[in-house]
């Protein structure tokens, strides 16, 4: 069991922008894994999308070798965690694979709600937490105050917290030494029955599904028959190894280690995060605790855009699903958009990511309809429908009542924004449970809120109203009876079912007006006038009109203009492709999401 003495398995917990990825980069650099010239900024965020948005979506894990001051070489397994509220479950499983966590706190900003949420997740898993203060090189850093905050808010002793700058590398050596001292070595039973926790999995064209796992007990090697404990499915191991961060095959993985296991598994959904890997002929008595199948919280329709094939979209969605167990879809049809798919996501960000990947990685043009949560519709005959698509809402006379999902939302903000955020929450039908001052200047608000208010644009509004300082985390709490109505949108007097949404009756007018105004901005002028109407049942509650005509400049077109003119027309045609024809009205595809976006002026 000697080898475990020199292993440390840890995660980094941080709020967005507090420097997690930069610190990870610095650690990789310090431990000499990647030559400095090969360092891309933020090495672990390997999707372009992630680097662009500055967030980590998909987990990355990497093994670092560090020669400590005591002369020993230590293996440090850094298990990265996704950085968004949509991915809480994945975070919890990553944390479960560790003995400790480095808590990075921005010394200029202090503790944020999301940091707290992750700290609690880590404490739940009995992790040793080591606070670190980052961005110490900035003039506005206030380490002493932050330490106090950590002690007060979380109750952790922060007096020994290393002061570092992940950007400049200052203090990183001290951090590594402290990490070895503070975070416990794993204490698994190498001779026990194999018990490995899946904390991530991804699909590879050559290897099939790659399982990222933490071995708690026993060992696993190529040729072993493994069993996934939640499904009982068995596979022969084709390769094991560790991540450095590329895949490096090895002979076997032993208790205490972190690495990958391949076994010709066809899709990620067969090796779900949180499941336990054991040996088929000598299984563990019980799985690692905490497995659950993640539930989609947000649904929307995804439809092929004009000129795009249904089959290509289906293929792409299947490929994405292979790689993302939290994403699911099934076919559906819309009167307006034809054949498409109803897709389930963890949250709005997850949805945006999938849509962007369809566009970028598969070069597909798709239309997404208004996201919706799942409503519980109780019919007069007693039947209960779990409604994912607003246009499937039964006729009003058949409905006894509708229930909507409620969440517990924790919002952390600087105290000067309390007024405006309370107003925002009230607009979004939130009920305040309580409010606490974490420090004299930081406030945490606990709200009971409908999920459908949270998914639309609440997060954007919160960020906008608090100049980016506000943070949010939420969890599903219960279903609650509510006064909900279906809001329909009509273009040129024809109902476009893809715009239908379910809203609270108190918001219906406001929402209807907003959507009409937005569509008026987005729909180009036609050769005729286009009325835009919002309706509840037969009752029109808002109306706008797009004026007729979009004039073209009566421009010259001589010898040197022809190529340019052609390009212009091609662009216009391209733009037209992104339009969707509804009867005689052309609607740009972005209209479907634009009507949901938060607008400061509205």
């Amino acid at each position: 069991m000697d080898h475990q003495k020199y292993i440390r398995n840890f995660s980094i917990i941080a709020h967005i922008d507090h420097g997690k990825s930069t610190l990870a980069d610095r650690l990789i650099e310090k431990t000499g894994l990647v030559a400095e010239r090969d360092m891309k900024e933020q090495y672990l965020d390997n999707m372009d999308l992630e680097r662009e948005r500055g967030i980590t979506i998909k987990l990355q894990t990497t093994r670092l070798v560090y020669k400590a001051n005591d002369g020993q070489e230590y293996i440090l397994n850094l298990i990265d965690t996704p950085g968004h509220v949509d991915f809480t479950y994945e975070v919890s499983r990553s944390l479960a694979a560790c003995e400790g966590a480095v808590l990075v706190v921005d010394a200029t900003q202090g503790v944020e709600a999301q940091t707290l949420a992750n700290v609690y997740l880590a404490l739940d898993e009995n992790l040793e937490i080591m606070p670190v203060l980052n961005k110490i090189d900035l003039a506005s850093a206030r380490p002493d105050e932050c330490k106090e905050e950590i002690e007060e808010v979380i109750g952790l002793d922060a007096s020994e917290a290393p002061l570092i700058s992940a950007k400049t590398g200052q203090g990183v050596d001290e951090l590594l030494e402290e990490l070895i001292r503070v975070i416990p070595a794993p204490e698994g039973n190498e001779d026990g029955k194999l018990k490995a926790l899946i904390f991530d999995s991804k699909y590879d064209n050559y290897l099939g599904v790659i399982i990222y796992a933490r071995i708690f007990d026993g060992k696993v090697k190529k040729g072993d028959m493994i069993k996934l404990m939640s499904t009982g499915a068995k596979y022969e191991v084709t390769e094991v190894g560790y991540c450095a961060p590329g895949l490096v095959p090895t002979k076997e993985l032993r208790a205490g280690e972190v690495g990958y296991i391949c076994g010709s598994i066809k899709q990620v959904a067969d090796a779900r995060v949180g499941d336990t890997v054991t040996l088929a002929n000598d299984p563990a008595d019980e799985p690692c605790p905490g497995y659950k199948k993640v539930q989609s919280m947000v649904y929307c329709g995804i439809y092929p855009a004009e000129g795009e094939k249904y089959e290509s979209v289906k293929d792409a969605l299947e490929k994405l699903q292979v790689n993302d167990a939290a994403f699911n879809f099934e076919p559906e049809t819309s009167q307006a958009l034809g054949y498409g798919f109803r897709c389930g996501f963890l949250g709005l960000l997850h949805m945006e990511i999938i849509v962007e990947r369809l566009e970028r990685e598969f070069n597909l043009a798709v239309i997404t309809t208004a996201p919706s949560v799942i409503y519980k519709v109780v019919k007069t005959d007693g039947e209960v429908i779990m409604l994912q698509n607003p246009s499937n809402l039964p006729a009003p006379q058949e409905i006894d009542h509708i229930e909507e999902p409620m969440v517990k939302a924790n919002i952390m903000i600087p105290n000067e924004y309390v007024g405006s955020i309370m107003e925002l929450c009230q607009q979004r039908r939130g009920t305040m449970k309580h409010m606490e001052y974490i420090t004299p200047t930081r406030v945490q608000l606990h709200y009971d809120m409908p999920l459908n208010e949270v998914i639309y644009d609440f997060f954007d509004a919160l960020k906008s109203k608090t100049r980016g300082y506000g943070s949010l985390e939420y969890e599903l709490d219960r279903y609650q009876k509510s006064d909900l109505v279906k809001l329909d949108i009509m273009l040129n007097r024809e109902l476009v079912d893809a715009f239908s949404m379910i809203v609270h009756s108190s918001n219906a007018y406001q929402r209807g007006r907003f959507v009409c105004e937005k569509l008026k901005e987005i729909i180009p002028m036609h050769q005729f006038e286009v009325p835009i109407q919002a309706a509840i049942g037969q009752k029109i509650i808002a109306r706008e009109t797009v004026k007729a005509y979009r004039k073209d400049v009566i421009a010259k077109c001589y010898g040197g203009d022809i190529s340019r003119k052609k390009k212009l027309l091609e662009k216009q045609k391209e733009g037209k492709k992104r339009m969707r024809q509804f009867g005689t009205v052309e609607v740009p595809q972005e209209a479907f999401t634009a009507v949901l976006k938060y607008d400061d002026n509205k």
Binding site: K547, R550, K551, D552, I554, C557, G559, G560, Q572, K576
Partner: protein
Amino acid sequence: MSFGVYIHVPFCRSKCPYCDFYSVLIRDKEIKEKYTDAAVKEIRSFKRYFRDDAEHAFIKQEPDSIYFGGGTPSLLEPIRIKEMIKACDDTFGREDDREVTLEANPGTVDADSLKGFKAMGVNRLSIGVQSFDDQILKKLGRTHKTEDSLKAFEEARLAGFENISIDLIFGIEGQTMESWEDSLKKALELDPEHISLYSLEFMEGTVFTRMLMEGRMKETDPEEDRKMYERAAEVLTEAGYVHYEISNFAKPGYESRHNLKYWDLDDYAGFGPGAHSYMTDDDTGYGQRFYHAGDLEGYLRDPLSVTFMEPNGYADDMQEFTITALRRSSGISKSEFEERFGQDFWGFYGDLARLQFKSFVDTGHAAEDEDNIRLTLKGFNVSNQILSLFV
């Protein structure tokens, strides 16, 4: 197929803030001479240049049009124009009944220079009047006034020009319908053979576009702009002009022979910095576009060195033909299209385009009969929407 020559004269006294044609401010007399020498050299090298390159052996007939565009070609002395015309004659041969156009700006010509241009072989003038409203002229950054335009036109007639075109711009912020109607009226009083109308366009890289971005200028209300266009079409048609192309009106028989080449996808050879050419490649049968960089210095060093080439492919010629030919009120003859390209018109564009075009016919924006398709005046107003079906 006919063939035309375009010569770009890249000099101006001042830069107009809306114009994106290549030109430089004129500094001294010598530069005009140097430029002319370079242009003559380029013209004279033309046949050899292409013949040497066996792959692009163009064999051309005599040009029936020579067009001096700019910039401000009227800033050159008549003798310089003569040198270039002579170079063309020597190189390509001389067609007696040819059109030789010179763009002239009011304020840069006088009775003598106009007589000179006429004597050197120029037989068509295109005068950059732009407006007969001094306030609008100021707004457009023009250095001339209405009286200069009137004077230039009168002197041109006296010099013996019997084919004169004038340019007018509309859709300018602050321009009223009254001002526009007044400009049209004054234009008709002069009784020119040809009138070109342009809606102010915000071209990339111009001062106006920058001002637009910075919010210091506004685009005209499209509705207002459309009304001005329709009003002009009405007034000019009534006065006997033929609306033969989206932006162009002519008395019968006075259509610009040169500009028709652009809309008929005929060959034209462009000389001078910033000039464009379109030449059919005899080997492939497809067109090729050439253009000179807008780089006077480079051109003066070696007039042959700064050419770029964009060979057209199978579909390009048909598409370019369609989007330019539909700018003409006569539209496209489907049988001629088939004869020229060996493709059935709708067979090439497909059923979707045909259906979409049909919807424009239904709304009166376009017309289609047995052999002909064309845009109507109503269609000219939304031409980009319709033309984009064909790219």
